[in-house]
């Protein structure tokens, strides 16, 4: 039996992008999620929200078209597409907290089997605490999806019975995309929908602290070479 091959960050983002439907209004968190927009079906129309006050965020500007006044929540230069709009932070967070986003994709340190998310702090007291809009994003949206490696660099599980890091929100996550699997958070527990080729369920469970359930219609998790 050959060795399984984890997805790289781009492939995880690609897989997440496949779940986005036409007309969706989406917020992409800092880190891996920002890669998602590169892989969305070009035939559909998706509206990106950035919490510093814009809907209709477009791709990074080409050389010569950069504008300091067009930034996203990661403080990167971006563009605005036709139909986009600017607004203040109160309205921007009303959009988030009020449930007006269709999908939110976030990175995370840890997720619990009940969908609790810990993505803003490792509890390191030497770091200046900074939460930003992480909690607002998770609380408002009914369809929060997490992108992260299945394990830490030293191979400790990130999908846990209970998060050990400070929580961002309880019961926030609906789906988790990792380098090894696609897992849904359901009322019955964590349901594994897809696993990378050559990785069996028992091995995946060994890499996961929380209990997993294998969906009877589970599939191979595939992504193009990117």
């Amino acid at each position: 039996m050959s060795e399984y091959k984890p997805l790289n960050k781009k492939q995880i983002a690609w897989r997440a992008a496949q779940d986005i439907t036409d007309g969706s209004i989406i917020n992409l968190g800092i880190g891996m999620p920002t890669l998602i927009s590169n892989y969305v079906n070009p035939d559909i129309e998706v509206i990106y929200h950035t919490e510093n006050g814009m809907l209709g965020m477009g791709p990074a500007p080409s050389k010569g078209c950069e504008d300091f006044y067009l930034q996203n929540a990661s403080k990167e230069l971006v563009t605005i597409v036709k139909g986009g709009s600017f607004f203040d932070s109160a309205l921007s967070f009303s959009i988030m907290r009020g449930g007006h986003l269709d999908m939110v994709f976030l990175g995370s340190f840890q997720v619990s089997e009940e969908g609790d998310i810990a993505n803003w702090s490792t509890g390191d007291n030497m770091l200046v605490p900074s939460v930003g809009g992480a909690m607002d994003l998770v609380v408002g949206c009914n369809d929060v999806r997490i992108l992260m490696n299945h394990c830490t660099k030293d191979n400790k599980p990130r999908i846990l019975k209970r998060c050990s890091y400070p929580l961002t929100a309880k019961r926030g996550a609906r789906r988790i995309y990792t380098d090894l699997a696609v897992i849904d958070v359901t009322s019955n527990g964590l349901l594994v929908r897809e696993i990378v080729e050559c990785l069996d369920f028992e091995k995946l469970q060994n890499l996961t602290e929380a209990n997993l359930i294998l969906d009877k219609n589970w599939k191979i998790l595939k992504a193009p070479n990117i």
Partner: protein, 238 residues
Amino acid sequence: MINKCIYKTRDIKKGIKSGSTILVGGFGECGVPLELIDALIESDITDLAIASNNAGVADRGVAKLLKAGKVKKIIGSYPRSIDSYVVEELYKKNLIKLEIVPQGTFVERIRAAGAGLGGFYTPVGVGTMLAEGKEAKIIDGKEYILEKPLKGDVALIKAYKADRWGNLIYKKTARNFNPIMATAADLVIAEVDEIVELGELNPEEIVTPGVFIDRVYQCKKNYDDLLHNIYVSRHRNN
């Protein structure tokens, strides 16, 4: 006649006292009233509580104010940045208090102050360490925490254009916290790129009506070009 424009840099600081709570607009470095901050630095006003989403980058903006030793407390959501060495050093040496608030709660608390409300119940933070010490309440079966208004003695904001009544419009993502902070302080000073004639701003497009504004100060330095160059070169190197 109403004329809220001030022309002398030394008029910015008038009436601002040491120990004040000051709301400072901007997200990251976009929409920050850098020249108003400079006026504080050059004054003898000190011992400030600064409510600002971020805490400045490198030596700029709120970081410059921190470095000048003027700040005892930061209230905000994300003081860390790609280069926030000033706040990091002060924090490690325990020379500054930090009150960390989720970003949406931060702006909503400021709005509540401007809107004359006593507080509001939000679901954000429930079940997390940021809810500690806050009153909880179940409303229609859902759990919320009580958040109180955050009012400034002073608000320093940045806008694009103003007229002599203090009507303001903003530029792109530099709008952010500025229109909300404009409503929520006893003394509100707007730094603007341009002052235009009364009647030149379209009444449909005015974002902040002049009723909220006490003083308007037109930029004299060219911080915009500096920031533009920094951000463009960083962008091109990524």
